[in-house]
Amino acid sequence: MDFDFSDDQEQLRDAVRKWVDKGYAFERRRSIEQAGGFSREAYAELAELGLCGLYVPDDQGGMGMGPVEGMVVMEELGRGIVLEPLAQTLIAGAVLSGYAPDAVKASWLPRIVGGEALVVLAHQERAARYRLEICDAKSTPAPAGWALTAIKSVVPAGDMADAFLVPAIADGKLALFLVERTASGVSTRGYGTQDGGRAAEVTFQNAPATLITLDGLTALEYAVDIGIAATCAEAVGAMDQTLSITTEYMNTRKQFGVAISSFQALRHRVADMKMQLELARSMSYYASLKLNAPAKERRAAMARAKYQLGISMRFVGQQAVQLHGGIGVTDEYIVSHYFRRLTQMELTFGDTLHHLGEVSSRMQDTAGVFA
């Protein structure tokens, strides 16, 4: 039982925080949003910090770090609502090094670590929503590997990525493939997202695909769980900053001749926000500390965590806007950007109702952190 961060973890946090504060100020973020929502340059800076290789083992050129380091990094990126999708890179690093054939590892991992290749998960389909086992995509054997046909939705930075991790049915079973964006038969339709970032609809028409694993559901669940833990941590960072922006505003904004932070109705709202933040932080720790647990235990933990985080994100985001009053609903002021980011994170890797259903259907007689 230990919830302290090691000195190395604190140093990692400081390094990322320094970059976010100096290198990713609000003005830069705004210009990235206006330029389409994804910056190769900023992404390369994340790679320079070593973050793209966080979950890639040392012997494959990465940093070989674990979920707690991942959590620390994502909290700090969340604090600065960084648009470049590092959670996707954590997924790609872990899934490829865990499941891919050696040749694929050798070809892709160094480029992922170096930031030259952005590999993202393209798993969402219209009929499946957040359910991972439902998949229309098909893959069939082809002379030089596999040919994959699919339509995947809301793929993060989909028209900027270099390759996709794509679940598809092969021989009646869910398998996981890697497909390059520039491969024949791949087309993308990119667009901006609610948080200022970027995503795309990606269509695969008999696209040449490389098999990662035939045990695709296992790999996909692992991928999504890494995404959930990362999103939880990112949300904690974003909520922490949202609360701090809100309290600073309340202590300066005057109405009826006094700072609005003197009104008890508003103070109690802040107390409720602090409650949601600390519950969320507790469950983010829980998610990261359960990420290496056996699959069944891990899945149950992620559902619990994402449910709590969803509740917290919505509450903290909505109340932050409310407590700001009119300025809270403007684009000019920073708090609305946090609200939009928090809202989008609730809708990522399973929303609150989805995960409530997961918790409910997995419920056992006993419960608790260790049950």
């Binding site: 103070r267 107390a271 409650m275 829980y286 449910y307 918790v359």
Partner: protein
């Protein structure tokens, strides 16, 4: 960072579990597991069993006869007791007044009072609230006038939990009206058998008389029963409150009661109803999140590297959860929660239950638990405190 308990802590847990299993009377745990009425004898029997082992003051340091456990060990002990169905230790003696006596009392006071508290022989009550002093505790009016070697005490305390059994009571009394209200308060120990002390039960909404009014009419109290210095009582009282921290969240009991809620929901046929089961699922996440928050506090206390100021949050969340599981149990019973048959809440009743026996106490328990968001500093006062830490 590590979520797991160490092998030593696991071993510690197993030892505690074995001891509790061997020593907790099953007639008592049966009552706890079914929310049946606990008598004074039930509570005191368990207190004496713990006292004999030296664990009634399980949080006490070794120098005063406690086991000297760290925060994690204390938690594991409390959890094993709760899961096994042990009654909550009546806190006024071992948890509340004892740390004050240890920290601020004289060696004579320590020698005189601590043994009886630690053994479970002497029943203590708390004399804080007054009719005019609820959340605003510093406004207490009960007066103690110094007359030579004694104090003359006059006034009224209220909401004195289980005061009908009390033998001694620790009181906040007013010894001065000068300066701020907080500066004129003293901390006095009073023998409830003294002439002029009257205890009157207050019947609560569940029909039970768990709390009392305590009247002091020219009660003569030896000056040697004053803790520390005159007019410094507020400081000592605040120290006492700081000992209630993770305890008040009561997450261990919540885990036990969540299991019971699932059992009752299954027996009453609502567990299969998605709409009902989802409500339990929400509570399950609430309980896990509260437990994680408690574990963070314990780990921080153990390592000493972080200070986590979340006591107010633990009180708010813990009490809300207590209310919610009693509410859901009542809703699971549905119409069978309606009959009010007092005898059916006593162990061993042979009469005809309406519906299943487990339904009988559910509504009363629900009503009773409304107190949790009011006592120990109401949840609204807690929100003021939390907001203060965030906003300044």
């Amino acid at each position: 960072m590590d979520l797991a308990f160490t092998p030593e802590e696991q071993k510690f847990r197993e030892d505690i579990r074995a001891w509790v299993q061997a020593n907790l009377p099953t007639d008592i745990s049966h009552k706890v597991h079914n929310s049946l009425h606990l008598s004074r004898d039930d509570m005191q029997r368990w207190a004496r069993i713990l006292g004999k082992k030296g664990w009634l003051g399980h949080a006490w340091p070794k120098q005063f006869g406690g086991p000297g456990w760290n925060s994690v060990q204390k938690h594991l002990f409390e959890e094993e007791c709760a899961l096994a169905g042990a009654p909550r230790v009546v806190p006024f003696g071992p948890v509340m007044v004892a740390p004050v006596i240890m920290t601020f009392g004289s060696p004579e006071q320590q020698a005189r009072f601590l043994p009886g508290i630690g053994s479970g022989e002497v029943w203590w009550s708390q004399g804080y609230s007054e009719p005019g002093s609820g959340s605003d505790l510093a406004s207490v009016k009960t007066k103690a006038e110094r007359q030579g070697n004694t104090y003359l005490v006059n006034g009224q305390k209220t909401w004195t939990t289980l005061g009908q059994y009390g033998e001694w009571i620790f009181c906040l009394v007013r010894t001065s009206n000068e300066g701020k209200p907080q500066t004129g308060i003293s901390f006095l120990l009073i023998d409830m058998k003294s002439p002029g002390v009257t205890v009157r039960p207050i019947v609560l909404l569940d029909g039970g008389a768990e709390v009392n009014e305590v009247w002091f009419d020219n009660v003569v109290v030896p000056a040697e029963n004053l803790i520390g210095e005159e007019n410094k009582g507020w400081t000592y009282a605040k120290h006492l409150l700081s000992h209630e921290r993770t305890n008040i969240a009561d997450v261990n009991r919540a885990k036990r009661e969540l299991e019971r809620l699932k059992r009752i929901a299954k027996l009453e046929g609502v567990y299969a109803d998605t709409r009902f089961r989802d409500e339990i699922a929400k509570l399950e996440v609430d309980v896990v999140a509260l437990e994680m928050m408690v574990l963070r506090v314990l780990a921080a206390e153990k390592s000493g590297k972080q200070s986590l100021d979340v006591a107010g949050l633990l009180k708010i969340r813990g009490s809300e959860i207590q209310q919610r599981y009693t509410e859901l149990m009542m809703l699971a019973a549905g119409p069978y929660a309606v009959p009010l048959i007092r005898e059916a809440m006593e162990a061993g009743w042979q009469g005809d239950h309406v519906g299943a026996a487990h339904c009988a106490p559910l509504a009363s328990t629900y009503f009773n638990m409304r107190k949790t968001t009011i006592y120990g500093g109401s949840n609204e006062v807690q929100r003021n405190i939390v907001a203060q830490t965030v906003l300044g």
